[in-house]
Amino acid sequence: MQIQHDPRRARLKLILTLLSLALSALAIWWANNNLSSYYLRILNLAGINAILAVSMNLIFGFTGLFSLGHAGFMAVGAYTCALLTLPMRSKQTIFLLAPLAWPFNAVTLPPFPAVLLAGLAAAVMAYLIGLPVLRLRGDYLGIATLGFAEIIRVVANNIPTITNGALGLKGIPSFANNLWWTWGWAAATVWVTSRLVNSVYGRSLLAVKEDEVAAEIMGVNLTYHKILSYVIGSAFAGVGGALMGSLVTAINPKTFGFMLTFNILIIVVAGGLGSITGSVITSVIYTVLLEALRPIESGWSIGPLHVPEIPGLRMVVFALVLLVIILFYQRGLFGGREFTWDGVLDWIDRKRNRKQEVAG
C-alpha cells in the first residue's frame, strides 16, 4: 500500500515485472523440454507445495487462524478433479464394487475447468466447516479443524459410489506433470494472495490476527473476514490437491493424512508467518532437500559407523532443521518480510548513495 507516486519508478517496476515474467516463462519452457522426468517431478512438486504453503500462510500467517485442515481441503479438491477428468472407460474399470454416482458418471471435463471446480468444491467445504468452527480460537481451532480433516478422510473411505472407498482412484490424467500447470497456479496463488493482503481487506485480516477484540470494536466484522481468508486459502488448497492428484495419478483416503498438513506447516513456519516470499522459496528448498536426503534413509556407513535402513529418517532431519530455524530465526527465514521491487530499488539507491558519499 503505497501513497508516493513516482511515475519513473512505477514504469521501472512494470518493466522489471514483465522482464522477470518473461524470464520465468523462458525458464519453464526450457525446463519442460530439457529436464529429465525425475527433476521435472521434483520441480512440479515444489510448485504444488508453494500453492499449499502460500494458501496456508494466508489463513495462519496473515489472519492468525491456526487451522490444521489443509489436507482435508486438498482431498476434496483432488477427488473432485480426478472424478471430473478421469475418462469414462477408466471410471468403468475403477468402480467395480459400487457404481459411480451422478454427475461424475456422466461428465468428463478438460483439466482447466476441473481444477477450477476442485477449488470451488474446497471453498464450499471451507465455508460450511468455517462457519461453526472459526468461532474457536488458537489451539481449539487447530484441534477442531484437524478433526474435520479426519472426518473428510473417513467419509471418503465410506462413500464408495463417489470415492471408490479405500481402494481410491487410479490412472488420473497427469496433466499436472507440467511446469506450466504447477507453477502457473503457484503464480496465480501468489498473485491473488499478495493482492489481497496488500489491500484494505488485507489490513483488516492482519488486524484480526493481532487483536480480535480491538479489530471488532474498530468495525471489522470478524466472521466475514475469517471466512473470507479461510475460503480463499482453502480454495487454493483444493487446487493444490487437484494438481497433486494429477501429478501422482493415484489417490486414496490415506494420501491425505495429517502428515501432509504437517509438512506444509513446516514450510510455512520455516519460511516465516506472513511472508509469501518465504513460503515460496522455502517450498522449493524443502521439496528439493527432501529428495536430496532420500539416500540417508536407505542405510549408509562412514568408516566403521554403519547406519541401517531407517524409513522416515528424513523427517527427523527436518524436525531438527525446523528446530534450528526456530531457535535462530524466531520469525522464520523471512520473518514476515517480502520481496518487492521497491525493496530492491531502495537497496540499490542506498548502495549508490553510499558510494557517492565515499567518492565525494
Binding site: V200, Y201, R203, D211, V213, A214, E216, G219, N221
Partner: protein, 263 residues
Amino acid sequence: MSERSELSVQDLTMRFGGLTAVRDFSLELAKGELVGLIGPNGAGKTTVFNVITGVYRPTSGKVLLDGVDITGWRPDRVCKQGIARTFQNIRLMRSLSVLDNVIVGHRLRLKSSLGSAILRTPGYVREERELIQTSLELLDSLGLVHYKDVPAGGLPYGEQRRVEIARALATRPRVLLLDEPAAGMNPQESMDLCEFIQKVRRDFNLTVLLIEHDMSVVMGICERIAVLDHGETIASGVPAEIQANQRVIEAYLGVGYKNVAAN
C-alpha cells in the same frame, strides 16, 4: 418529551456468575457533552464500556444511541452505528504501522468489493488512495503524521494513547468512550492530553464519556461526573458537587482529597 439523548444507558445490570459488576446503572449524555465516569478499582467502569460497545450483552437494561436501541449488538455493528472507544490497556495492532492502524478504522466505510480490491480496478485504486489520504489528514490534524510508518507498538506510551484515539476517530464516531487515557502519564503529559481531548471533541463534534483516575483531568475537563462503587451509582453531578459529596469522599476520593486538590 425533552430532547433526545445522544447516548442513553438505562437500568443497566451486568452479572458475571454470582458477581454483579454493575447494578441498575443509568446515564444520559446530551449531544456534545463530556462526562466523566469515576470510581475505585473494580467498581464496574470498564464493564459499562464493554456493555455499551457490545463486548458483553447486559443481564438487563438498555443502551440507546440517538434513540436507536443497540443493546446486545455485535461490536462491529455498534461501531458502524457511531460508538468508538479506546482501551484501558492500549490495544493497538502493535506490529502494524500507525497509518495501517488508522486505515483499519476506516475499513467500515470501504465500498469496493473484495473482487475489485484483488483486481485493483480503477474504482478500488481511487477509493484506496482517498482512504489513505483521509487517514494521513487525520493523523496530520492530530500531530501524529510523522509516525505514520512506525509500528504502533514501538511508540512511546503516551503517543500510543494518542494513536489509539486517532484510530477510534477514523471510524467517524458520534460518541467516543475513553478508558483511562491518562493512565501512566506524568502531570505534564496529562495536561497535554486534556487539551488533546478538548480539541478532538470540538473538531470532531463528539460526545465523550471518560473513565479516569487522574482527578486533575476529570475535574478539569468533565462537565458532569457519575461515580460508581461496587457496581452501584453512588453519586452524579457537576464536579463541584462530586468533590463535596460525602459518600464519594469516603468511597473513592479519600478523606484527604480536598487538601490534595487544593494544592
